[in-house]
Amino acid sequence: MRAIHSCRSTIAALAAVFTALQLAPQTIHAASPQHPVVPGFDRIYSADNANAVEGGRLLLTELNCVSCHKPEAATATLDKPKQAPILDNVGARTEVKWLQNYLSSVHDAKAGTTMPDLFAGLDSVTKTKQVTALTHFLATTGSVADVMGDSSAVVRGERLFHTIGCVACHAPVRDGVEAPPNSVPLGAIADKYSLTSLTEFVKNPLKVRPSGRMPNFKLDDKQARDIASFFFRDKKIAANVNYAYYEGNWQQKLLDFSTLKPKLEGQSSGFDLSVRQKNDGFGIVFSGFIHIPKDAEYQFFLGSDDGSRMLVDGKQLILNDGIHPHSVITGKSRLTTGVHEVVVEYFEAGGHESLTVEFQGPGQSRQPLASITTPTRERPKKEVDGNVFVLDEALAKQGRELFSSIGCASCHNLKQNNQLVKSTTSAKKLAKLSNLAGGCLAAAPTKGIPHYRLSDAQRSQLTAAVEGLQKSAADTPEASIHRTMAQFNCFACHSRNKVGGVDEARNKFFTSTMKEMGDEGRIPPPLDGVADKLTEKWLKGILDNGSKDRPYMLTMMPQFGAGNVGHLQAALQEVDQKTEAMIPEYELPDSKMKAIGRRLAGEKGLGCIKCHTFDKFKATGIQSIDLTIMSERLRKDWFHRYMANPQTYRPGTRMPAPWPFGQATIRDVLDVGNVEQQVAQQKESVWLFLEDGKKAGIPVGLNTGGIILKPETAPIIYRNFIEGVSPRGIAVGYPERVNLCFDADTFSLALIWENDFIDASKHWKGRGQGFQPPRGDNVYDLVRGVPFATLDSPEASWPTESAAKQGYRFLGYRFNSSRQPIFRYSKGRIAISDAIVPRKTDNQLASFERTITLESPSSAEGIYFRAASASKIESVNGGYILDGHLKLTLDARHTKSAIVRQSGGKTELLIPVTFTNGKAEITQIYEW
């Protein structure tokens, strides 16, 4: 592809970033920690005046002392200890060379590790023997293969690592940034893992480290791989592909390389075009072998600029020939277990050049093919201490015994053939420990005793704890909350009771997509009163699963796991939860209150939607927490108190007081004659509206991309598919902001609602599939069924067969002088006109007046009008209340003759129709 300059410069820029990253020195550690790093301990208990018993108590769980020194259940309340990593498949995630190295010098290989050195005090020959045996044993659990990352993944991974919250606990990996104190060490991560195994680990750390000190950020495959790639940025991978480089004049297509003579041959790391010697007019044939782990279909992705093709076992799988910009073509192939030859031919005529070769298979996400290629048919050999590592069964057997006997199995779970390898060590129970200056607490390493390299403070506090635990006072929920927050380093992000919160040194790594939100948009919230604020269910959900309620906050709340932190919910609830808000009684129906709440949430009300998103719709200003999750998230009691003055609960929040100084700024809404009541009822109306969650009507002022039909001077008719009505619904919106839908299939007034009429976009964009609900509020769903029937007696049940079968016929509608439609239909020879028109009220209720006129050319006897059918009909002064919601008023004549009856599980209101000179008229008023 000929010169695409912008494209080139972008690549160049990326390359520059990549180079900069590669050249960046590792983090400058002021001083590598000389003691096991327990961040909660270092944060809270490292001071001289710290509570030694509490500090030591934290160490007992975090260093997992209790795995050997069992506590007496009756004498000590100890939290669940931090379990050591599960080693079932440790060989499949760590390099043997690293295992050998790490075991040989635990504290030097990973300064700050909480794993003790089990070989301290041994002579070097014994130590080497034991370490080698253990390494062979661990290597029986699997092996890892070298894999390459790519530069764009490194750039993305670097960004993720420094934004999502990794650096809340770990040291930032940035040029010139000093490691802050309390940084959980990472060790030589790229020597330990392979890119693939680190990706797997990052994707869900709880799998091998179930105790949740490294929480699960629930990253997707790509994000996990990006972060892993960042750690592998400097990793030199052994050459894994052969190449033959050609120069010539490529005009249109790939040439037959077998007729050409290569200018250069060799091996490269991956399908790497940097082996070229010029930028235009060259071709490369890459070849290598892939080791397919299982019979399956594999997909390959070949992208190039210009042409390329891919052969598997000598057969062409993908042809991406010709001169073109970078474009990817895919191909699939069923491959059997074993070794397969792969050849990629490539040429570049001129301009920009690129080549990407990727694959995906069962259990393997899309990744560079080079991650599984080798230059020869042989699998690559692992080297340890300069020698090729060959697994020795006898050594492995010895290692297994050591794993049991020297204490590894006391902390690490490792299953073989589904059997846990058991520890054969024994240690005194915690309560029975007497020599607190010896054993693990001894200053110098002792043969056969785990050596933790504890600091003096750690030693003395552990001593205090072991002594103090025996006589410790009854535990309190707040103390338990505090310990858990220290164990899980919650304090790295959150403060509670003035403890913890983001360190100065890490502060700049807490960022937001909404700079305008200030600290509120980037710093995780303090946890004071958190269980007063959040519902039990929501809080539990966050603790068990993590959360992403604040989409603007780039730091994520990861999953610590129910088994690890789930108990916090009850403890927090016990300490925090209050029920003291003034929650008002109200007279209006709920649906009416919700309509008012919706209005208040909208732009002409309190304007909540200016800063809060509403489901998928963006706010008009900043994009704060979604309103549709509020009622699930927040406790109603807290909501009422918070709304009075957000500053008292969240100092510094940008959330304004909607009812400043207890005053209603929107005075005409719920004006019940008492300001305190008005404010309380307005708050309650907003809450009731929010309670509908994602089903709540969309507040006015959001740009929904809808087509909102607005009757301004005359009614608008909308005949289409209305939710809840037959496909023959005829919706009418009136400028009076009341609306109805008449069902021309059953001749019933089906729905009435107020405020906005309808959003036509479902039917007027695209093909128009589906039924559309009313756009407005306070929807009352009236019973369907024919309005008139001839009954043998007033007790006879209302007929249910189709209106057509009962002799009904729809005749359409006429407009009156106000362009209001008067529906017309007939039943046999009776002609009926049905006028439903808006009516003004002096209360806050919406209202329609309905006048039905019947004309019969012959006498008509035994005809009834079913004025209502509802679950509940209450007789009130001058009318009836339906379902506690709608008030129906009949004219005086019919009130006298009306029959309220139970029929078919419903209460019905029937009116006998009497004709005078062939005419009858029925009037009723709906208020809701």
């Binding site: 008719i717 005949r719 289409n720 695209g766 093909r767 128009g768 359409g812």
Partner: protein, 495 residues
């Protein structure tokens, strides 16, 4: 006045025009469609969405109906120069009106669920009464259940073609049927076998045709004759035979994977498509149907049928003939470049053609979301194949202008190929069963306005695709459209 041996009765009316407006243009400066049929596009008011599904001349105005369910009237639609369209709402908020016709001061509208009639009683230009004429067919709420209504037939009926529920099923009565709505509002089930109509209209004799679209049991789009009692090929709606005795017993189900003309002899009710519109050659979504009965005001194609294509934003031209008791014939490209996806096609008595378009939900070559275009004959006669007719041993072509005899008589001036479509329950069909018949010789009529092609290897049941690249007019012009597609369901018998 020149005449030729194959002259048609209906053609003679424009004979004079033909000779007086013969165009002479050099090959380098090839004429375009617009030289003969000038397209004028209405400038529609800002913000008004007019996805046009029906057009009718009503109360001295052009009435147009939309998919959104509105009916507007356009003043001065016939004015020589189109200015901004002066639109007035006649009725708002109906349910997707895809058919307009009028009688006695009432405008009849076919909505999705009913035929209604509307009247402006107080003369203010808007309807005061909307009266349901017939709502006896079912709708379920599926978007696919379109209803296209015809003009009145000679008995005062409106024919309504009802799309299936989706492409395969009929979930409520008479989906997948054509019904007739009588003047007193009764509904007569008339034909079954319909899939997804795009328009309905009569030929000059008053027989009703509709377009159906590529999909199940429709290898490609086509023009079909709605003979009462007929089965149009898609059995999806055949269960409703159980509910009506009007058109006889349920036909035998066709065998999927067969060919139309293999199945047709086994199913007496099956009327094969009169004209196939080969997919992606002529179009992809056949739509409105209108017949030119202006008696020459629209040029030389009097009594021919014009059919829209929504995807291609075109109008195609068709000539029909009766062979073996069934309509069949040829289609030709006619005019491209309509503003949006052509849906409604309507002639007015002055010889103007109005085309209303929309591309909502289905894309079109015309880039506008909706459009109203007017097509008028400029008075110049294009050099076109006027008709293509089947003969026992070949085809007969007539032309709108005398041909260069030597070129027209040369078999090398033509290229003929044939193919069929699979008649199947699966969606659409590729072209199959290709053959290449031999054109043995060509005889040109004495007047040079007709050519008789003698062909060995005609294929019954195949589309015969003819390219006439070598044919030139006497004046040296190539054909404006060189290709023709004849649907040879039946090969006529020799007299």
């Amino acid at each position: 006045m020149t005449t030729h041996r194959f002259l048609l009765q209906t053609f003679s009316a424009v004979g004079i025009l033909l000779s007086s407006f013969a165009v002479s243009v050099s090959a380098q400066d090839a004429p375009t469609e617009n030289d003969y049929y000038q397209m004028d596009s209405f400038k529609l008011p800002e913000g008004l969405v007019l996805e046009i599904g029906g057009i009718e001349w009503f109360n001295d105005k052009l009435a147009i109906s939309t998919r959104r369910g509105d009916i507007y009237t356009v003043e001065n639609a016939l004015a020589k120069t189109i200015g901004d369209a002066k639109l007035k709402p006649f009725a708002i908020g109906l349910h997707e009106v895809l058919g307009l016709t009028q009688k006695d001061g009432w405008l009849y509208a076919t909505q999705r669920g009913e035929v209604s009639r509307l009247k402006d009683e107080d003369g203010d230009g808007t309807a005061d009464i909307i009266e349901t004429v017939c709502d006896k067919w079912g709708i379920t709420g599926d978007y696919h259940e379109y209803a296209f209504g015809s003009k009145f037939d000679k008995d005062g009926n409106i024919w309504v073609v009802l799309c299936l529920t989706g492409s395969f099923n009929s979930n409520t009565p008479y989906r997948g049927w054509c019904v007739r709505v009588t003047p007193d509002g009764e509904m007569i089930p008339t034909c079954s076998g319909i899939r997804s109509p795009g328009g309905i209209g009569a030929n000059y004799l008053g027989d009703i045709f509709y377009t159906d679209n590529q999909g199940p049991w429709n290898g490609t789009c086509s023009l079909k004759h709605l003979r009462p009692g007929s089965f149009q090929g898609h059995p999806g709606g055949n269960k409703w035979y159980d509910t009506t005795s009007v058109i006889g017993p349920k036909p035998v189900e066709p065998v999927s994977g067969s060919r139309m003309m293999v199945e047709q002899p086994k199913i007496p009710e099956l009327v094969p498509p009169a004209i196939y519109f080969p997919y992606k050659k002529m179009g992809q979504s056949a739509s409105g149907v209108a017949c030119d009965v202006s008696g020459g005001k629209f040029g030389p194609f009097t009594n021919q049928i014009f059919v829209g294509d929504q995807t291609f934003s075109t109008v195609m031209r068709c000539n029909l003939e009766m062979v073996n008791g069934f309509y069949q014939g040829a289609c030709f490209p006619f005019r491209e470049g309509f503003g949006s996806g052509s849906l409604a096609v309507q002639f007015t008595s002055d010889g103007s053609m109005f085309v209303g378009g929309t591309n909502r939900g289905w894309g079109s070559r015309g880039r506008q979301p909706y459009a109203l275009d007017r097509l008028r004959w400029t008075g110049k006669v294009p050099f076109e194949i006027h008709e293509m007719k089947a003969k026992p041993d070949g085809f007969e072509l007539t032309f709108t202008q005398p041909v260069d005899r030597e070129a027209a008589a040369n078999v090398e001036s033509y290229k003929l190929g044939t193919y069929a479509y699979i008649f199947q329950s699966a969606y659409g069909s590729p072209e199959v069963d290709h053959t290449t018949p031999t054109i043995d010789r060509v005889e040109v009529s004495d007047d040079g306005q007709a050519a008789r092609l003698y062909v060995t290897g005609l294929q019954q049941g195949h589309v015969h695709e003819l390219h006439c690249d070598g044919v030139k007019s006497k004046a040296g012009l190539s054909l404006l459209h060189k290709e023709a597609y004849y649907t040879l369901n039946f090969i006529p018998q020799a007299d």
